[in-house]
Amino acid sequence: MALTPIAIFGRMEILAKKDSLFSFYSSPYPAHRETKALDLTSGGERYDDMYSPVSGEIIAIKKIPAPEFSKNLDDEYVTAILPEGSDHALKIIHLEPSLDVGDYIDAGEKLGKLIRTEFFWKFNDPGIHMEIRKRDDLFRTGGGMRFEPVLDPIEGETELTGKVTKRAEHYSIIEFPSSGTSGDITGLTCDVNGRNAFLDCTHPYVDYGGVVGAKGGKVSVNGTAIGLAIDGIIQYSNFDIYINDAKAECISSVLSLRKRAELKVIPAVLKEGEKVTITVKK
């Protein structure tokens, strides 16, 4: 299966398969707030196989026991992969590796299985969290390196009229037939000082969001200002998202390799097949 580059650091390319979703900013954790973390989901369920987004040698695996609050949480693992010729490794968490330290893996090959640890909200799908780190500083939160999204200019805008294509236990998914695209990548588009960008956020559960494809300026969705982006990070102004006439409790907008932009609506109040229009109001 062909792999699409979604981010780079130096000569390290982060690659994703078709049908994957990815996000720089829809998480509350600190590294994301500096564009130093990237989440990637293949769409798999818990314990499904997950592929490696880079080629390289596995240089470290660390297991961290699950907290005692639930016997149904998986132990956490940190896996570090060092691409050939690189001084920096890719740190991957939320995956139980099926390989060992010293093994080599090609991007796209099975790295392990998706797990569910204490870092997941109930509406989060299984997926991996990635950071780029110096090889002698693999495990902590601070000190990671910044990802650079790989994005061609975005063509078209995502029209905010769509249909509910999935209703899961804790969320519904809306697909938008008319979506802005950048090569194989799509998402909800927004305007950043006249420039088209993708909106990457979980609002309002996460107190900030991000734009991918633009760095800074006033951010608007469908003509309504939602905040100010500085270096990709949106400081929100007050606004609400409405789905038809009902105010949404929370929405999550990430980048997609699934041909159509999607919006996750939390909780699962929408029914499959329902036609919806999204509006933004102050």
Binding site: K62, E68, F119, F139
Partner: protein
């Protein structure tokens, strides 16, 4: 004493920031409780202060990091640092593995010893911690649905 699955030695004092404090006159040793280490699994780094540094009660004394999150040790009492657990510089996971033993974090000279009356014996701390444990368990209750 046990609160749910978590151990809390009877001879220590506790605070709402998940610290245990062993007071001995005008000195004290502090660390994270068993519950505290469970809330921060996999402590990968801690920024320790230097002996001689002074902190008012409530100030950040030692930021620390897990594999994905950050938090901090907050001074439970107005103090001067007398000793740090140097082992934590190389292996901060000892805090998770042995929170009341080898994972102690700091020794303090108390500059206002009377502040220790604000700390909780386990008989009182148990109520506070039971609520924390209940909320954490509720977060993951969906995994049983």
């Amino acid at each position: 004493m046990k609160v749910d699955e978590f151990e809390f030695p009877d001879d220590l004092l506790y605070d709402e920031n998940h610290l245990w404090i062993k007071v001995d006159g005008t000195t004290a040793r502090i660390g994270l409780t068993d519950l505290g280490q469970a809330l921060y699994k996999g402590i990968m780094h801690i920024d320790l202060p230097e002996p001689g540094e002074e902190f008012p009660r409530g100030d950040t004394i030692a930021p620390f990091e897990t594999i994905k999150s950050v938090s901090k040790i907050i001074a439970p009492l107005t103090c001067k640092i007398s000793k740090v657990n140097e082992k934590l510089r190389e292996n901060s996971e000892i805090i998770n593995e042995s929170p009341y033993g080898e994972g102690w974090i700091l020794e303090l000279e108390l500059q206002k010893p009377e502040e220790k009356d604000s700390l909780m014996p386990i008989s009182k701390a148990a109520e506070v911690y039971a609520e924390v444990i209940k909320k954490e368990k509720e977060k993951y209750a969906y995994l049983y649905e």
